[in-house]
């Protein structure tokens, strides 16, 4: 089994965190995993992406040339990475921030949902990433909800424990959207 995921969006959307949660989940599952981010002169609103590879075998290159999954949190990142998806790959897109007119390869499995609006309805726009993650785990079926929730609980800072609940709701909302 190998799953190569590119998660892309803009700084502040929790792109790195999504990748880290998946990486932690893979490690808990005794799978091999690598996580590689954009780094350096990053700013809120600037381009951000990370590459996560999960595999039952050891992973030579952490750099993804052809992805199995692309999670595009905004339009710029879809345009940048849509050609990196292999045929029949999984594309999750945030239709809140991506115009309907953008063409994607017909061979792809595409799931477009308004992640950002769904997060707004839950009262915190910043959990759009967890909506996306919920859709991802529901569609790929490689991790269950409990593992993801346990990781969120563990990494949530002590002074922000109240955020765990809205993250849980967002994850469940994502899973519900594709049910």
């Amino acid at each position: 089994m190998i799953e190569r995921i590119i998660i892309a969006g803009s700084g502040g959307q929790g792109i790195m965190l999504m990748g880290k949660i998946l990486a932690e989940a893979a490690m808990l599952d005794n799978l091999h995993v690598t996580w590689f981010p954009t780094y350096g002169a990053e700013v809120r609103g600037g381009a951000a992406y990370c590459m996560v590879i999960i595999s039952s075998e050891d992973i030579p290159s952490p750099y993804i040339e052809k992805a199995d999954t692309l999670i595009a949190m905004n339009e710029a990142s879809l345009l940048k990475f849509r050609h990196r998806l292999r045929s029949r790959g999984l594309l999750l897109m945030n239709s809140s921030l991506i115009s309907k007119s953008i063409k994607t390869n017909a061979s792809l499995k595409v799931y477009a949902f308004p992640f950002t609006e769904a997060a707004s309805r839950l009262g915190n726009i910043r959990v759009a990433n967890m909506v996306a993650l919920g859709i991802y785990i529901a569609k790929r079926g490689i991790f269950n909800k409990q593992i993801i929730l346990s990781i969120i609980e563990r990494i949530a800072p002590a002074q922000k424990r109240d955020l765990i609940e809205v993250n849980r709701q967002a994850l469940e909302e994502g899973m519900r959207l594709v049910r």
Partner: protein, 358 residues
């Protein structure tokens, strides 16, 4: 960071290097921030304080390396870290450390150059690391990990070798290795007999003859004699510390040679070509100085008709050592990009096919 049943932790290369230093018994760190190694400095700021050891964010790279010199002279396990332009600034201090035969560990998480360059991963400081870098006839031991785990483990080894040979050791990584995260099995803490084992250190001479640490020899013949002794030490290191990893050499027609992150990407290609039944081998130098000449001499004997393809994130630096090691007896081809470009699996596959046809 999570701790697991089988006690693995998800860590970045920079953090894993920092924790390696902590567990190796590093008791002095001085550095100055620079991308892409900032997480290492930040990690040490927190962990050194937790361990009640010394962390100093110096006012400059020059200051940091000379603080390391002072701490090493006093017998501390001392280190600094930086990225390419910062390491250039440290070269004078590194030459003095080598000249004073002081142990220390210097981490270079390489970025693009020359000049201020950019912050993308690069391997273009190979010459600087393996040829000395500063003035004078000296060498640093240079170790090049290709994974978060190996970066951690080689940090333990770096401190050990620095002390054993009283010599600076450079851990050479790149931005990709520094930034990427992988599950890490933490090494056990090193139980050290600090101070006592360093008879030469400047620890206060009450009740004994004063020790002298210097790199200045003005009397006729003195410096030459000192340099001969240094060269003897380097010869010993060359005999004892060549390290490498090799795969599928015994039937290989083309052998791909790469180190660090470039070796990870190359390994992907080797695996795929092997699955197709192609006779491709893989050689990864781990010690860049001493260069693993022994590995290449064995290839010359065992595979006298093989072609070598050296792949680097530079325009050809390690390839010179490969050519010296095979002494013209094997054909050596090169593929490299730099300044932010990373040779892709497709480019490596095409270059391998060209090598096979020759």
């Amino acid at each position: 960071m999570g701790r697991l049943a089988e006690s693995k932790t998800l860590m970045s290369g920079n953090e894993a290097i920092g924790e390696g230093a902590i567990r190796a018994g590093c008791d002095f760190y001085a550095g100055y921030p620079i991308t892409p190694q900032n997480e290492l400095t930040a990690y040490m700021a927190r962990r050194m304080a937790e361990q009640q050891r010394i962390f100093i964010q110096a006012e400059s790279e020059l200051s940091a390396i000379n603080m390391v010199l002072g701490a090493a002279a006093a017998g501390a396990r001392a280190m600094t870290s930086s990225s390419s332009p910062g390491i250039s600034l440290k070269q004078e201090g590194i030459s003095y450390l080598a000249g004073c035969q002081l142990p220390c560990v210097i981490v270079n998480i390489m970025r693009g150059g020359p000049g201020l360059g950019n912050i993308a991963p690069s391997q273009s400081d190979y010459f600087q690391a393996t040829r000395g870098g500063g003035h004078g006839d000296y060498r640093c031991i240079v170790l090049a990990p290709d994974s978060v785990q190996e970066a951690h483990d080689l940090m333990m080894l770096s401190f050990e070798l620095a002390d054993r040979y009283r010599n600076p050791v450079i851990l050479l990584g790149d931005g990709m290795l520094g930034q990427m995260m992988e599950p890490l099995k933490l090494a056990p803490f090193n139980s050290l007999k600090r101070g006592k084992s360093k008879q030469w250190a400047l620890t206060g001479c009450l009740g004994r003859q004063p020790n002298v640490i210097k790199s200045f020899y003005m009397q006729e013949g003195q410096l030459e004699e000192f340099n001969r002794a240094l060269q003897g030490k380097y010869k010993r290191i060359q005999m004892q510390q060549q390290r490498w990893e090799e795969l599928y050499i015994s039937d290989a027609r083309v052998i791909l040679v790469a180190y660090g992150t470039m070796a990870r990407i190359t390994r992907s290609v080797v695996r795929r070509l092997r699955q197709r039944g192609e006779r491709v081998g893989f050689l990864r130098p781990i010690s860049l100085w001493p260069f693993p000449q022994r590995a290449f001499r064995r290839i010359v004997e065992r595979r006298p008709r093989a072609n070598l393809l050296v792949i680097e994130m530079s325009y050809g630096q390690m390839v010179e050592d490969v050519r010296l090691a095979v002494e013209g007896r094997l054909r050596v081809e090169f593929l490299g990009r730099s300044g932010g470009g990373i040779p892709s699996q497709e480019e490596i596959t095409r270059a391998t096919a060209r090598c096979r046809r020759r």
